[in-house]
Symmetry: C2
């Protein structure tokens, strides 16, 4: 029995998210079927986390167990020959038996792209959030810095308690979805870096953390936008974190601008 680790890039636009679902085209389901065609096995590849419909990945990490003797390197070409062009396997390698894409993850980086020009070129429409209105960018930079460190991110977590897109941080004793040994789920996460930068016509948010709750990055971006519009002050981020109440923060930013950039182990 071999444990294989894949690095996967995908354009999330035409997928109903990562997680396999009946009657919907998902990245996990598409990959499972491609692996099945090569190995003849029925496998459910495990991602480092779920991405929602429309969310992209530059380097999602995936593990799956197989009896197949196909060399790891050959899986790259064989899978890419079967997969649609919107999903590409960048790398396949043997992993230790106890390596698991989600449970072994120590940190993740996400990026969110906002397109600022008045008219959004059609070639970027699926890949950014087009927001051509005025924004106080320096205030957004200050606000982003205030979420760095260890915080309870309940205010930025999707209201549906069944879903956590995140991995438990190393210091947490439970997972959101199935609290181990009945321990209550924790919404505490550590954000290592959180920053905005201008790049041409884009204003880009990059956040690196121990793990992320469902919708957390998009809810942070939706809240930073309120700071940019001066509906909130940058300093309000501290108050919103302390409120531990989803209704204290801004709306969920669109999926199209969000990218899972990489996963650290």
């Amino acid at each position: 029995m071999r444990n294989l680790k894949l690095i996967l890039s995908y354009d999330g636009s035409e997928f109903a998210g990562w997680q396999v679902q009946p009657d919907a085209v998902t990245v996990q389901g598409t990959l499972a079927s491609a692996i099945g065609r090569i190995t003849g096995e029925k496998v459910l590849p495990q991602g480092s986390g779920r991405t929602d419909a429309g969310v992209h990945a530059l380097a999602q990490v995936v593990t799956f167990v197989t009896e197949s003797s196909v060399p790891a390197a050959n899986f790259v070409k064989a899978l890419n020959d079967i997969l649609p062009a919107s999903v590409r396997v960048l790398e396949v390698e043997e992993a230790a038996a106890d390596f698991h894409a989600r449970r072994s993850a120590r940190g993740k980086t996400y990026r969110y792209r906002i397109y600022r020009a008045a008219i959004c070129t059609p070639f970027l429409a699926r890949y950014v959030w087009h927001y051509p209105y005025p924004l106080n960018e320096p205030a957004m930079v200050r606000a982003a810095g205030l979420v760095e460190g260890e915080h309870d991110f309940t205010s930025f977590a999707a209201a549906d308690p069944e879903r956590s897109a995140g991995v438990p941080p190393p210091f947490a004793s439970s997972e959101n979805r199935h609290g181990r040994e009945g321990a209550p789920a924790s919404n505490v996460r550590r954000i290592f870096t959180s920053s905005w930068e201008c790049q041409g016509d884009e204003f880009i948010y990059t956040v690196k953390g121990s793990g992320f709750l469902h919708h957390m990055v998009r809810n942070l971006v939706g809240t930073f936008i309120l700071v940019g519009k001066a509906t909130l002050r940058a300093e309000d981020l501290t108050r919103i974190l302390e409120a531990r109440d989803r209704s204290a923060a801004g709306a969920t930013a669109p999926a199209s601008g969000l990218y899972l950039v990489n996963v650290e182990y």
Copy 2:
């Protein structure tokens, strides 16, 4: 009665080409319907030329006649509010009564993007031709230069005589599709510049000419690829032009790599 000139950019991936067709989503049909919603008129906007299914435009030029009093500048926002994100109006301005997007055109520039890396990122799959195999690029550069000047491009024209994607060059007395006064259609066109350049992982062909026959740029690219693969020598381009026979040239390159870059008047 006003004559309006639009500059239009579109991602051709999800359109059955420019030209309006029953039961198919086309750029011309989509634009006609958006204009109709604003002006209440039934208009058929005229493009500088047709683009095929999957072919993109950075700056297609379009004219249409209207009785509407909506200021030209307001059409930009009004149309972009109605059009899908895959089609953007970049500019609208008043044009002289005798200005016509196709008949007034004096030249056009097309670009063709070939992606050379082993794995094509999902974010470019719709926008390039992925060709990761070896190519003799200097030979392709030489071949491209040989089609500059005035030539009969019959060898590079689609076999269907009903379709010409090109505009008649200033020196031609007839159009391909409907020879004026019964004159035979001419496949003579003048190519001003024809060249390849490397840009990162891409090898990009740019061609500027008086007009282009149907499939001409894609057939040129398909033939340059044969030179790149050493199936042909660069010098064979001269012989192929002289043959005036479609079967002498290479296959039609995929639509996804082709862009109408601009139109000159």
